[in-house]
């Protein structure tokens, strides 16, 4: 069976794509699973958190996704990405499990958005050579409506055996719901061309605050999230991981604690990112809760893959 491929994607920034990507990587790596994180965002946030010395902050000569996708227009015999990809995959920093590998992004990756060459399938092609070496492949996509990098990521996420999926993180806000709408539209477009079998692995409610004053509005957005229906892909409620939030919050918020697959907003998440350590290494109850949630999500998605 091939690797579990998940593309974390939303057109909106700040909805938790990188948090979910690296959270899943940390949990899977902690279990000894072989993980590859592919950073398609030119801000390279995931790569930095994973401790990779990308050109801007460490090694100017390190090979990145940009080098894999780039083809010199004057080169009559372009390098096959299946030959080159091994040079672009690096171990995560020493704080991370030794089974986690990273195909990092870098700032110059933004040049690829305007690349006139047919580069959209180079990542997918390159992964053919190494996908068998991994149990989980995570794609951290940039918050953009399609474009070359999103297309390259989603095309690669489909995988050769099909069944790769898009995991859509959504904050319970207007932005979060807009991001889901737009991400679903992109998935449908990809199915019409590059990735006919690309699926929606799920919608993850992320960065859900514990702020009491915000609970009412978040509950309203949660209700909407479960009520919307996509004419092609079906009810959103079937795509959202977990049950709806209780209609009325308890004053302590304990009722929400029973809702599974809900990635809550905890300061420890930002602290772990700042320290460039996996959430699995972070101390405290909040870190444990996050690890448990990422673990639940990973288990669910692995189970679904097995059952397919």
């Amino acid at each position: 069976m091939g690797a579990l491929r998940l593309a974390e994607y939303s057109e909106k920034g700040g909805v938790g794509k990188t948090s979910v990507t690296n959270g899943l990587a940390a949990v899977a790596g902690d279990r000894g699973m072989r993980v590859l994180v592919i950073d398609l965002d030119s801000r390279a946030t995931a790569s930095k958190e994973l401790g990779v010395p990308i050109p801007e902050i460490g090694d100017p000569e390190i090979f990145t996704l940009n080098d894999l996708l780039y083809v010199n227009p004057g080169d009559d015999d372009p390098l096959d990405p299946t030959d080159a990809i091994a040079d672009t995959i690096h171990p995560a920093g020493e704080s991370w499990p030794s089974t986690v590998r990273v195909l990092p992004g870098e700032r110059k990756l933004a040049n690829r958005e305007a690349d006139s060459g047919p580069i959209e399938m180079r990542l997918r092609q390159g992964l053919r050579a190494v996908a068998g070496e991994f149990d989980v492949i995570l794609f951290d996509l940039p918050p953009r409506p399609s474009g070359k990098l999103v297309t390259a990521g989603l095309a690669a996420a489909e995988g050769e055996d099909g069944g790769g999926g898009v995991l859509i993180p959504a904050t319970l806000t207007t932005d979060g719901l807009d991001g889901v709408t737009q991400a679903l539209r992109t998935v449908k477009q990809m199915r019409q061309g590059y990735s006919p079998t690309l699926s929606v692995a799920g919608i993850v409610r992320s960065i859900v605050p514990r702020d009491r004053e915000l609970r009412a509005i978040h509950r309203e957005f949660d209700r909407q999230l479960f009520e919307r229906v996509d004419p092609k892909l079906g009810p959103w409620g079937e795509m959202v991981l977990g049950e709806p939030l209780p209609a009325v919050a308890s004053s302590s918020g304990e009722a929400d604690a029973d809702v599974r697959y809900l990635v809550r907003q905890y300061a420890i998440r930002e602290e772990a990112r700042f320290a460039q350590v996996p959430i699995t290494s972070a101390p405290g109850r909040e870190a444990k809760r996050l690890v448990a949630t990422y673990g639940e999500i990973l288990d669910l998605l692995l189970k679904r893959k097995e059952n397919r």
Binding site: R34, S42, R43, E56, I57, E61, F63, N66, D67, L68, Y70, N72, L79, D83, A84, A86, D87, T88, I89, S98, T99, R101, R107, K108, A110, N111, A129, V130, G132, E133, F134
Partner: protein, 286 residues
Amino acid sequence: MSSLIKQGRGRSGLSKAPEGDPAAPPPEIALPEPRPGEASPGAGGVLAAPGEAVERLREAVPRPYEPVSDGDLLGAQERRDLTTCEAALEHLRLAFWVAGRALQVIRDARLYREAHATFEDYCLDRWSMSRPQAYRLISEWSLAERLLAVSPMGDKVSERHVRELLPVATVHGDDAAELVYATVAQADGVRVTAELLRDVVAIVPTQWDPAAAVLIIREFLDRDGQGDGGSVGRRSPFQTQTTRVRTGLADLATRLRKGKGGDPEQVRAFVADARRLLDQIEQSMS
């Protein structure tokens, strides 16, 4: 773990993509050669399309990003970004007089005539700019160019400096405004600010006499602690206010002596009122 990803590492022939930063400054905008017979080639080229230079500059300035390092020294890319951002600010600082010169060219050569009957119509329609605004920019640019030439601060003449000097240029001409500026700028230890120039302009005599003006300005700077290491920051609000009142009264006295005053009854009422206020000030000291 992965035997495969070690296999072949470094032997693929992969090389770093040679392109630069996507937000790096674009190459200089190539301006066409001046037409034969043009009086002042200088910077008198023509951009291919309105807004092209601004658009290129906008594209060149990077998007905001998080610090990439905690170190004190900037990396090569950070240094390039700083240069680009400072270039943008430099454009902002000098744009006002470039705009003024452009407006004058359009007005004097009647380049607006294809679509507009008058220069005023053109300014309002094309740039939502009123006539006074347009003419102020035109007045400022020529003065700015002169001040740039005499300023010991090089190109640090700001729009506000020029604006404070415009009343002198309007009444006495650009030579007078340039002399006022040069007298202030070349005084020892004086930091030229718009506020200081406003105070200096306020004491410039109504009747223009270059030698007398220089003396008055120097006395003002010495009296108010501006010279010899002084700075505008050392002036109190009281000093600023009394300077203006004194200058205003002196100007009024000169006008009255020359018979340019208003109704004698009104003058007498003003003098009585002023005397009463001065008495109040004096009494407040006791």
